[in-house]
Amino acid sequence: MGVASKIPVYLEKAPGGGILVTSIDKILNWSRASSLWYMLFGTACCAIEMMCTGASRYDFDRLGMIFRASPRQSDLMFVAGTITHKMASRVKILYEQMAEPRYVIAMGGCAVRGGPFYYDSYAVLKGIDKVIPVDVYIPGCPPRPESLMEGCLKLREKIRKEKMADWSSDSAK
């Protein structure tokens, strides 16, 4: 039973087979954390690093993460890059189009706090958390693929701790 050893279940033998016993929380969180499909959304150089992490050397696939070109099919959004005030409303629309539960990772200095454009800029939004809720912040300019991986692992930890009782209709957090 290779699968059973990886899923948080209790296996009970019964005549002719077996019964798997688990909790809804555990099985849902396990499945969500193990297939975080992320949206293809990059606005600056962080996107290059995100592509690199998705490619074979670092390989997001081994976390079950596959890129999706549509917010409707995505669970996770990397805000990878500088978000201008004009782009901010578009980011919000994309976030709202994602199906719940949805998660956001603010990748790089720009998405966290405006980055190098914090001072003397009329155009750049100073932190994506002014527009949409953020689960994990990854600093760096841009963060290396290792950091991005670490951020995703942190998000998985967070998802595994979720409880069904905490769900609400407007947000899965």
């Binding site: 005030h85 004009k86 800029s121 009329y122």
Partner: protein, 158 residues
């Protein structure tokens, strides 16, 4: 055609209305009065000797007390040379005629100059924000005396 030759020909042709500026030998510059700008660009585009048929960029500059300036960076694809045409503007009321009719590519450049510097482009049919948010109300952000808006953080002195 050599650049020097070109500029002297232009100055000869337009006389007092086109004044040469010494900047970069590779890209000679002329100062033209804004009242003849459209006619000037039209003539150098159609004239067989000049054939300046491509507008590569428009840049606006704010010199504070020395007024503002519109720079039209032009080149001739066939004769292979460049030319910058400068127009001096009054800083209190900057306005310049549109050159969309001659170079259609000027459309977005002119919108950008309008939204960032507040240069009124006379005759432009579609002056609305291009790079700034649609509901921008905080003035002309690329002007050098712009104070900033609520979200603006000034770089501290070091």
């Amino acid at each position: 055609m050599q650049n020097e030759q070109l500029v002297s020909q232009l100055v000869e042709k337009f006389g007092a209305q086109a004044e040469k500026v010494e900047l970069n030998p590779a890209q000679p510059a002329l100062v033209v009065d804004k009242s003849i700008l459209v006619e000037f660009l039209k003539q150098i585009k159609e004239d067989e000797n000049f054939k300046i048929d491509y507008l590569s960029c428009i840049s606006a500059v704010d010199y504070l007390e020395n007024g503002m300036e519109m720079n039209y960076h032009l080149c001739s694809i066939e004769l292979r040379y460049k030319l910058t045409v400068k127009v001096k503007l009054d800083r209190e009321k900057p306005e310049v005629p549109t050159i969309r009719e001659i170079h259609p590519g000027a459309d977005w450049h002119e919108r950008e100059a309008w939204e960032l510097f507040g240069i009124d482009i006379k005759g432009h049919p579609n002056l609305k924000t291009l790079l700034l948010p649609e509901d921008w109300k905080d003035g002309w952000p690329m002007r050098r005396d712009w104070e900033g808006n609520d979200d603006f953080v000034k770089m501290p002195e070091f």
